[in-house]
Assembly symmetry: C2
């Protein structure tokens, strides 16, 4: 049956029948997507939607250069890291060239969850500790260990996982650092040895907390002074999203002990990685021969290299910076006219617009879908519009989004 | 730099420099692979190697039908399960058609490790228990939770993980069932509530334990009678490897509560899944909205569907059965002439040849590599040759392997 002939109600019935009841769809009226190109997704009726949500297709949906690299490598060799091949080495070298020289070694995984899970194992081995600090509406992934460090999932936290309040609004760097120190004191008072501070450097799930750049520095100093590792979760902030560098932590002038990366790394192909200081991974490596079957296979590496090429050749960091600022300014103008918008935050093409309520946020997200623009929501109170398009997003695309948002705000005001 | 111009020593130096010290290569003299097709891999000097090790490229390396499906879908749409798309539904329906009707719901992940990790979370929610039983040289994956259930990795087991002796040689079904019951008694004596029995249904890492078919039944009965779930880890046995069915558990006449699958599912593309009885996953689903970014994305599903097509259209189960039996008989003939071979076990194209020592095994594995045949080793004592080729392996390929093995045995005897 050709994709487009299936009706949404057929698909919904089949989903309920054969997929696990854990699955959820976006929007009151889910979108039946059949193709995508650049920043546009198309439904079965041929209607187009501006994709202002998906960070995974970072260089645009179905980018021909990336598809070609995938196709070419898949036809030649798809094998793992227990044979000698060039791909993983070239990719590791390219990734290391984007970070401080203290960071020296790469491990490939398939998903950000696997990379974060591995970071926890490495941190425990390196420090002899078990205590981790995360922010109170963080999301870091889906394995048992990492879901237990993801308060946003609503499930009970894992053992020795401590939370601190995310710096909602404009952060006070000294205060955030003090929170980490107080948490470390509490940890030690309970007899738990510190192992690490794990943060998404754009606090994506906490509501996109970006201001001021640099506010993370005292917190990082605190965890490192306590003998713990600073793990920068770059799964959402990474690969140029902020426009100010390849990685979110770079806005904060800090050097992580471990960096995890994933989602956009293969423009949709499952590839992820962990970058480590040698001294951070040494103890773990002395105990464990970590092998990830598909992690760093020749196809995944070819795809990730192509993504890096496109980010560079198309100047996507500069685009993220310029168009992100333009879009943010446009949202701030709307804020002046619509009281429903309380605050606009963001860095590059990751913007959070905090609304007056969860209800408004839900109405706007679904209203935008009807207007043909895909966005999402974030934050502990689910009150923040999450705008995070492919980095090829243009000023015209921003204008399209802003015009749609104004129509929706006018209707729902 | 073109792949083939890099020397092995250059590559080794670059690996040591940029990859994590956790990485290990196969063979005393690692193979620098540059391309592969069908059952053959080629090194930088153009030398070919018969691949009798890699189960991941189950329908043969770089199968054109699978590459075409990948290419076509990657150019049209690569998106996730929070939009409506046909791919995950078609794949779920195809997978469910291969198992008993009690198994009704599919969850997609990217790796077998993620599927096994999810199975543990589901089992805990379903049973309210925390105790798991695994065999004493099992391997189930790389997340913190699952590495803690993989004694083969040599790291300390996780909390509430209990081991039983794997049934090396020819299993006694009643005895193996009694082992599980005794282990459950010990678990309860320590105040641990049973949650599940997790086994690779071909006991791949334990040394390829296949005889007699059916020996698992009393063990499965024991865990289910105790209120725990039986989790069939089909990551290695699955997708027709045994030649007697799509799944290893089918040789044992049992019905799992949860099935995990991975490695060969995408012929090298990262795609994996968990298949569940509805009543087993219900409680977990009431608590957790599991979402896996790349799991079940449209490209992964297109690739996995193509793999299922090829398995069916090329009659690979029948081939695995016939060629596997032929290869096993050839190995048994060699066993009559070479005392170094102690026992030949196997099902379809997964064969374990137990040798007289770890040293012989190492010599043979490296000798075969020099003869141009890739195999590996398994078992608690690393004394078993692991032979697990793509399912397109022919009688001629088997003859090639047997002739090489005889040369190696003659030299090392």
């Amino acid at each position: 049956m050709p994709e487009s002939s299936a009706s949404s109600s057929d698909l919904l019935a089949r989903r309920a029948s054969v997929l696990a009841p854990t699955y959820r769809l976006f929007y009151e009226e889910p979108v039946h997507v059949v193709r995508a190109a650049g920043v546009w997704m198309y439904d079965a009726q041929g209607r187009r939607y501006l994709d202002a949500y998906n960070n995974v297709p970072v260089v645009g949906h179905c980018h021909p250069y990336v598809v070609e690299a995938l196709t070419k490598q898949a036809a030649i060799l798809n094998t793992h890291t227990r044979y000698l091949t060039d791909g993983p080495l070239e990719l590791a070298e390219r990734l290391l060239a984007t970070v401080s020289p203290e960071l020296t070694n790469v491990t490939f995984t398939c998903t950000g969850s696997e990379a974060n899970d591995l970071a926890i194992r490495i941190s425990k081995a390196a420090t002899g500790g078990t205590g981790f600090i995360v922010t109170d509406f963080a999301y870091h992934g889906t394995t048992e260990t990492i879901a237990g460090m993801s308060p946003a999932t609503g499930i009970p936290l894992g053992p020795d996982v401590f939370t601190i309040a995310a710096p909602v609004g404009t952060a006070d760097a000294a205060r955030f650092g003090a929170l980490v120190r107080e948490c470390l004191d509490e940890m030690r008072a309970r007899g738990v040895k510190p192992a690490g501070l794990l943060v998404d450097t754009l606090f994506s799930s906490d509501g996109v907390l970006t201001n001021p750049a640099g506010f993370l520095a005292p917190a990082v100093e605190a965890i490192q002074a306590a003998g713990g590792l600073f793990i920068a979760d770059e799964v959402q902030p990474g690969f140029g999203r902020t426009g100010q560098g390849m990685w979110g932590f770079q806005r904060h002038g800090v050097v992580p002990d471990l960096i995890t990366m994933g989602k956009p790394m293969g423009n949709g192909h499952p590839v992820a990685a962990l970058v480590a200081r040698r001294e951070a991974i040494q103890e773990f490596a002395s105990r464990v021969r970590y092998f990830n079957t598909f992690g760093g296979n020749t196809v995944a590496c070819a795809v990730a290299l192509a993504v890096l090429d496109v980010i560079e050749e198309e100047g996507l960091l500069a685009n993220a910076y310029v168009v992100g600022a333009y879009l943010k300014a446009g949202l701030e103008k709307l804020q002046e006219r619509y009281a429903a918008i309380k605050e606009v935050r963001g860095a590059g093409l990751f913007i959070g617009a905090q609304m007056d309520s969860r209800e408004t946020t839900g109405r706007v997200v679904n209203g935008m879908r009807r207007e043909g623009v895909l966005i999402g929501s974030a934050g502990r109170n689910v009150d923040t519009l999450k705008i995070r398009p492919p980095l090829t997003f243009s000023r015209n695309d921003a204008d399209f989004l802003l015009a749609a948002l104004e129509r929706v705000l006018r209707q729902s005001a």
